[in-house]
Amino acid sequence: MSATNPTQETKSTNAGSAAEPKSNGGTAVQPTQRGALPGVIHEPIRVIRDDGSLDPAWDPKLSDAQMVALYEQMVRTRIIDERLVTLQRQGRIGFHIGSLGEEATILGSAAACRPQDWIWPCYREFGALLMRGMPLQAYVDNMFGNANDPVKGRQMPDHYSGKPYKFGSVSSPIGTQITQAVGFGWAAKMRKDDLVTLVYFGEGATSSNEFHNGANFAGVFKTPTVFLCRNNGWAISVPAHKQSGSQTFADKAVAYGIHGVRCDGNDLLAVYAATRQAVERAARGEGATLVESLTYRLSGHSTSDDPKAYRKDTEVDAWKSKDPNVRFRAFLDKRGLYDDKRQTTLEEQTAAELADCVKAAEAAPLPSLESMFDDVYAELPWHLREQRAELLAGPRAKGHGH
């Protein structure tokens, strides 16, 4: 089965299953009282063909300038990622969890949101946050956990929060953001506000309680949610096929009565198109979509992980040849939209900008001792006032900057 044209596919709520009888297995799935089940597009959407032409059925019709801008975001994200790993290796930051190889999935989907739409992150989406407008300095301050860090040095690096950019707050426990994103969009729907939430998670997270709850509530209440599953092949050392007995992760949509679609997660335009269709459908009140974006985590899980312990170099190499940044650059080259000189300039500019941010972050003070007690409650209760006084009056820990 080939991918359907998005305009045909979204004419009515029932069109998905009507146009795609085989998408539910073509057999015993009975329509519910809500009408026919939404469809699942199994064959991953791919937009950029090998010859550089675009599949007209899914071409999101971005302008040249838009495509170049998005490419530059991917490159920037990659450069920042690589530098942060180096900083961690040098012991200057404690941790980094990045998006090497997943740039098209993350930036393509974030770019497909409208300005009023909200993004609920997992933990690899700093590129989306920067694209949404968080200053690089603020992100770097988060990596250092200093006094200027928007989350006040309270959380690990890469646990940022971006309310001014319509961007949620990173939490380590897997899956928790999924139901929250559903509720956020549901509230907007109750208030008749025109907004959609895009929530990111890995394929491992589809095993969590919260994935089930989120997808189920989204199906029951037809919330304006886009579930963006970054299927990057691995959950730390556990391969994707050990997470589920389903044929694909997108298949899970069927059971919840939401739409499902797979896309080539290393094809920027495919991710954009799949997400855009889901956003528009949600905005029209036609419910949620589970987008399975097929990509690959080229790095270790985080700087704490050595992937050589559990996966073969040959597998990694095969995916390196599908590097989303390289692929998109080749596409731009075919159209004469980009060249090495521009790329070198961008890379140098990004590296220099980052170096300045790092310098400033390292020079910034640590969060104040008092700040440890702020925000636990809206107002400091007696026991925290006592504990704060005790900390301030007491001796400092060894090697502490205060």
Binding site: A235, S237, V238, A309, M372, H383, L384
Partner: protein, 324 residues
């Protein structure tokens, strides 16, 4: 005797029991091929195969719920929760099911599982890789909670936990996973549950502690000794049911007590220890019992060494309590 760290000692105990008892299975996230993110289960997958050392889907509720089911059938599962901070999706299964199965079935079914999980801070782990949730389990009737501080105890306590008829939460202080080293006998031995260890004898005051803070308490006690204060340091080893006799005996001797734990102060196990001391040896007290604990905030990142009750915070309290 071989020298081991805590990781190796726990690994040794698991291997020994898996060989001895074919009902034992290990399951959890990343425990198989890669041997766990801290490598505690390293080599077990190769030795015992994927049916007994199981990489599960990413669901703590799934891990504990199915482990309870396996145990009801007659296996002896030892699930690992990757970090203690991630145990909460399984909290329902632990609190509502595991802890109550024997009781609610009138003794028909067993309640048995050993849940291993790394706990504690000081490793730059922020909110979600640092917490010490012991009292949230101690408060649930039916659960035992164990927390070793050295490789010898780690192996002996784990073997005792596996063979104990009750469900045990086995909390491994990750800050000392590799730092705490010592001799560990080859082969089988157990360290009894609910027996504390007097790690440092002393006559002026009693320090009750556990986990990674033991080493901070010892550091502070050694510094206090230079001021002529001899602290007796007790490592609880089993947090619940705790060894009340050893505590009471020590407090009757010293008349003074400081409890040290890194979990937040309020409703921490320290509260219960102090209440028990008040109930059982109030008339022997020469000073108000004191607590040096983590603050009642989420576990911070940058300021974690200011949050933890390290030696620099324990020492002044030892002096104050001794001189009261």
């Amino acid at each position: 005797m071989p020298q081991m760290n805590m990781v190796q000692a726990i690994n040794d105990a698991l291997r020994l029991e898996m060989k001895r008892d074919d009902r034992v299975v290990v399951l959890g996230e990343d425990v198989g091929k890669v041997g766990g993110v801290f490598r505690v289960t390293a080599g077990l997958y190769d030795e015992f195969g994927e049916d007994r050392v199981i990489d599960t889907p990413l669901s703590e509720g799934g891990i504990i719920g199915t482990a309870i089911g396996m145990a009801l059938y007659g296996l002896l599962p030892i699930p690992e929760i990757q970090f203690g901070d991630f145990i909460f999706p399984a909290y329902d299964q632990i609190v509502s099911e595991l802890a109550k199965f024997r009781y609610r079935s009138g003794g028909e079914y067993p309640s048995k599982l050993v849940i291993r999980t790394p706990v504690g801070g000081g490793i730059r782990g922020g909110h979600y890789h640092s917490q010490s949730p012991e009292s949230q389990f101690i408060h649930v009737a039916g659960l035992k909670v164990v927390c070793p501080t050295n490789p010898y105890d780690a192996k002996g306590l784990l073997l005792a936990s596996i063979r104990d008829p009750d469900p045990v939460l086995f909390f491994e202080p990750k800050r000392i996973y590799r730092a705490a080293k010592g001799e560990v006998p080859e082969g089988d031995y157990t360290v009894p549950l609910s027996k504390a260890a007097v790690v440092r004898p002393g006559k002026h005051l009693t320090v009750v502690t556990w986990g990674a803070m033991l080493y901070e308490a010892l550091d502070a006690a050694n510094q206090a000794a230079q001021k002529g204060i001899e602290a007796e340091v007790i490592d609880l080893r089993t947090l619940w049911p705790l060894d009340i006799d050893t505590i009471v005996e020590s407090v009757k001797k010293t008349g003074r007590v400081v409890v040290v734990h890194e979990a937040p102060k309020t409703c921490g196990l320290g509260s219960e220890v102090v209440a028990l001391i008040n109930e059982k040896c109030f008339l022997h007290l020469e000073a108000p019992p004191a607590r040096v604990c983590g603050f009642d905030t989420p576990f911070p990142y940058t300021l974690e060494m200011e949050y933890l009750p390290l030696a620099h915070r324990i020492l002044p309290q030892l002096v104050t309590t001794a001189q009261f």
